[in-house]
C-alpha cells in the first residue's frame, strides 16, 4: 500500500494552527511579570530546539513496528510518551476552551452540552481521512492570520510604547521564570509536530513543519505583543483571557463597538483543530504501540 502524502502547504497550515491552539486563549500566562515578552522570545528558541530534537526521535518511532527487538525496546516508551502527551494536549485544549466558553461565551449554558458537542466535533474530525484536518487547517490559518493581523492593526492607535519599554534587562532567574509557562504552552507541544507527520505519513517533512511552526509562533507572538502594548504586563497577567479582552477594546467607527465575536471564532477553530490533531496522534501512537507490543509478545513466544 502506498503511503499517503501530505502537501507541504497543508502540513505547514496544520502545524501553524496546532501551535496557535489554546495558546491564543491564555497567553500572556497568569502571574507573568514585566519580562514576559523576553520569556516568550526564549520559548520561541526553545520551540525550535524541541522541534529539531524531536525529528530524529519521530523517525525512530515511526518504524517501531517493523524494527528489531532492541530498537523496539527503545521505541515502546517513546510511543507511550507520545500517546500520553498528545492525550494530555487534547485534554488541556479542551479544558481551556471550555473554561472560556463557561466564563465568557455561554455562561448560562450547562457545561456538559458544550463539552459534548466540542468533543463530538473533535472526534469526528479526528476520525475522518488524514487530509480532512489538514485541508481544514489550510482554510482556517488564512482566516486566523487575517483576524490576528487585522485586530493588531486596529489596536495600534491605543498602544502605549511605555508598556513594552525596556529600562533594564532581565536577570537570568527572572528570564527563566517568565519562559517556563511559555515553554509548556508553546514550546513543548512543538515536539508533537514531527511525531504526527512520522506516524501518519511515514516521513518527518522538516521544512514544511518548521515553516508552519514559525508561522504559528509569529501569530502567537503578535497576539502577545498586542496584549502587552494595550494593557501592560501586570494587567495582561491579571486577565483571564487577555486576547479576548484586548479585542473587546477595538472599535471601528460608531457601529462596530464589540467585535469580540471574531476572536471567539478564532478560539473555537484553533482549539478544535488542536484537539483533533492530538486525538488523531494519540490514536496512531497507541496503534503503533499495540503493534510493537504484539510483535514483542510474538517473538517472546518463539
Amino acid at each position: 500500500m502506498r503511503a499517503e502524502k501530505i502537501s507541504p502547504k497543508h502540513l505547514a497550515a496544520l502545524a501553524a494552527v496546532f501551535i496557535l491552539g489554546d495558546s491564543v486563549i491564555v497567553l500572556p500566562p497568569p502571574d507573568s511579570g514585566k519580562f514576559v515578552f523576553w520569556g516568550f522570545l526564549l520559548s520561541i528558541a526553545a520551540a525550535a530546539a524541541v522541534f529539531f530534537a524531536a525529528v530524529p526521535v519521530s523517525s525512530l518511532i515511526a518504524g517501531a513496528e517493523t524494527a528489531g527487538a532492541v530498537r523496539r525496546a527503545v521505541c515502546v516508551p517513546l510511543l507511550a510518551a507520545a500517546a500520553f502527551y498528545s492525550f494530555y494536549g487534547a485534554g488541556l485544549a479542551l479544558k481551556r476552551y471550555m473554561g472560556f466558553v463557561d466564563r465568557v461565551l455561554l455562561p448560562d449554558t450547562q457545561r456538559f452540552f458544550i463539552a459534548f458537542i466540542f468533543i463530538f466535533l473533535a472526534a469526528v474530525l479526528a476520525s475522518r481521512r488524514k487530509d480532512v484536518i489538514s485541508k481544514l487547517s489550510l482554510i482556517f490559518i488564512v482566516i486566523s492570520a487575517i483576524t490576528v493581523v487585522l485586530f493588531f492593526a486596529l489596536s495600534v492607535k491605543d498602544f502605549r510604547r511605555e508598556n513594552i519599554a525596556v529600562y533594564r534587562l532581565p536577570e537570568f532567574s527572572e528570564l527563566i521564570g517568565e519562559a517556563i509557562p511559555c515553554f509548556f504552552t508553546v514550546s513543548l507541544p512543538a515536539a508533537l509536530i514531527p511525531v504526527y507527520t512520522s506516524l501518519l505519513y511515514g516521513e518527518t517533512k522538516k521544512g514544511a513543519s518548521f515553516a508552519g511552526l514559525s508561522a504559528g509562533l509569529a501569530l502567537v507572538g503578535l497576539c502577545l505583543v498586542e496584549c502587552l502594548l494595550l494593557f501592560g504586563a501586570p494587567l495582561s497577567a491579571n486577565l483571564d483571557f487577555p486576547l479576548a479582552s484586548a479585542v473587546s477594546t477595538v472599535t471601528v467607527g460608531p457601529l462596530f463597538t464589540r467585535m469580540d465575536g471574531l476572536v471567539y471564532c478564532l478560539f473555537f477553530g484553533t482549539a478544535l483543530i488542536k484537539t483533533s490533531f492530538c486525538m488523531k496522534l494519540c490514536f496512531y501512537a497507541l496503534s503503533h504501540l499495540k503493534n510493537a507490543l504484539r510483535r514483542n509478545r510474538g517473538e517472546q513466544k518463539k
Binding site: F120, R160, L235
Partner: protein
C-alpha cells in the same frame, strides 16, 4: 449510521442556551441598555446609578429615552441587584460607555469598583472612567447630541482630546493598567454641569485611589506636559496662546548632596522661542509648587516614573519615595526640538 449521528447532533444544537423560548417573550420585548454607570459613596454604602436606555420593540415609533436607575447596598453587587429587582429583564451592561466616579468615593470603594468592573465581563474595558461631583446630577442631564448623557460624555472626551492634545488615558483598561503597574498617581477627566450643560472641566488627580486634587482646563494642559501625556495643542501662558507639540519628556534626579528632580521637555512649535520656553518653565514650576503645597505629596507621579525608568532610584529610594519627593527641589527645562 451517519444519518442517525447527524440527526442527534442537530438535535443537540437546539439545546444551546441561545434559544430561549420563554412564554410571552414576544409580548414583553424591552431591552435595558446601560449607557453609563455612576458610583457614589457615603463611606459605608455604595450607590450605583445606571443611565439606562429602554428600547421597546412593541412601540418602535417611540424614541428610546434614557432613564436613571438607582440602587444602594453594602456591596456593588447588592446595589445592582436592587436596580434589577424592579426590571423585567437584566441590565445590558455590554454597551456601557462611561464609569462615573463621584467625589465621595473613598480609596477602598474605588478599589472595589475597579475589581467589580474587571470581574464583570459585561462592562467593556474600553469604558471611559470620569470624575464628577454628583453622578446622579450628571447622568440625569438631558443629552444634547446622542440618546444618552453617557454617550455624550464619550463624544466630549474624544473631541476634547484631539482639540487640546491631552491624552486623557482614562479608559478603564488604561487606569487599571496604571494601577496594576504600581503607579500611585493617575487622573480622570472631571465633568461638571454648567450653564452649557455637561462640560469637561479639567482633571481630577487621584493618588493611591483617593481624590487628591482638581485642575482647571489650563492647568490640565500644563500637568499633561509634565506627565508626558500631551501630543499637540494650545498652551495658554497669561493671555498668550502657543501651539506646541511635545516630542519627549525626560525624567531624572540627583541625590548627591541636594535632592533634585529634573524634568526636560523637548518641544516644537511655530511660535516657540527661548522667551516662550522660559515663560513655560515658570508656569510649570509654579504649578508644581502649588500642587506640592496643597497636597503635601507627589501628585504628578514623578517618583513613580523615576522608579520605573531608573533602577538605581528604585533601589535607593523605592521605599521612601514620598520622603525623597518632599525633600527635593524641582527643576524643569523646556528645549526647542527640531522637526514639526
Amino acid at each position: 449510521m451517519k444519518k442517525i449521528l447527524i440527526s442527534i447532533f442537530v438535535l443537540m444544537l437546539t439545546l444551546l442556551s441561545g434559544c430561549r423560548f420563554t412564554t410571552g417573550g414576544a409580548e414583553n420585548d424591552r431591552r435595558f441598555i446601560v449607557a453609563a454607570v455612576g458610583f457614589e459613596s457615603d463611606g459605608a454604602l455604595i450607590t450605583v446609578y445606571a443611565e439606562t436606555i429602554i428600547i421597546n420593540s412593541e412601540t418602535p415609533e417611540n424614541e428610546p429615552a434614557p432613564k436613571l436607575l438607582k440602587g444602594s447596598g453594602a456591596t456593588i453587587n447588592e446595589a445592582f441587584e436592587e436596580i434589577e429587582a424592579s426590571l423585567a429583564r437584566p441590565l445590558m451592561l455590554e454597551h456601557c460607555g462611561v464609569i462615573a466616579v463621584g467625589g465621595g468615593v473613598t480609596a477602598s470603594w474605588f478599589d472595589r469598583i475597579c475589581d467589580y468592573c474587571l470581574d464583570d465581563r459585561r462592562i467593556t474595558l474600553s469604558s471611559y472612567m470620569i470624575s464628577c461631583d454628583s453622578p446622579e446630577a450628571l447622568l440625569s442631564e438631558t443629552p444634547e447630541s446622542s440618546v444618552a448623557a453617557g454617550y455624550d460624555i464619550m463624544g466630549i472626551i474624544e473631541q476634547r482630546s484631539s482639540s487640546t492634545g491631552i491624552f486623557y488615558d482614562s479608559r478603564f483598561f488604561e487606569i487599571e493598567g496604571l494601577r496594576e503597574k504600581g503607579r500611585s498617581v493617575f487622573t480622570l477627566p472631571f465633568f461638571a454641569l454648567t450653564g452649557d450643560g455637561i462640560t469637561l472641566d479639567g482633571l481630577s488627580i487621584y493618588r493611591d485611589d483617593r481624590l487628591t486634587g482638581r485642575l482647571s482646563t489650563d492647568d490640565a494642559v500644563l500637568y499633561s506636559l509634565m506627565t508626558g501625556n500631551f501630543d499637540r495643542g494650545t498652551v495658554r501662558i497669561g493671555t498668550d496662546e502657543y501651539r506646541i507639540r511635545l516630542r519627549s519628556a525626560e525624567y531624572d534626579y540627583t541625590d548627591s548632596g541636594e535632592n533634585r528632580l529634573y524634568l526636560k521637555l523637548r518641544l516644537t512649535g511655530d511660535s516657540l522661542d527661548d522667551t516662550v520656553c522660559e515663560r513655560l518653565e515658570q508656569e510649570l514650576d509654579r504649578l508644581e509648587s502649588r500642587l506640592r503645597l496643597t497636597s503635601g505629596t507627589d501628585v504628578v507621579g514623578f517618583t513613580d516614573i523615576l522608579s520605573e525608568r531608573h533602577t538605581d532610584f528604585d533601589e535607593k529610594h523605592g521605599r521612601d519615595a514620598a520622603e525623597f519627593y518632599k525633600s527635593s527641589d524641582f527643576t524643569v527645562e523646556c528645549l526647542i526640538s527640531g522637526g514639526i
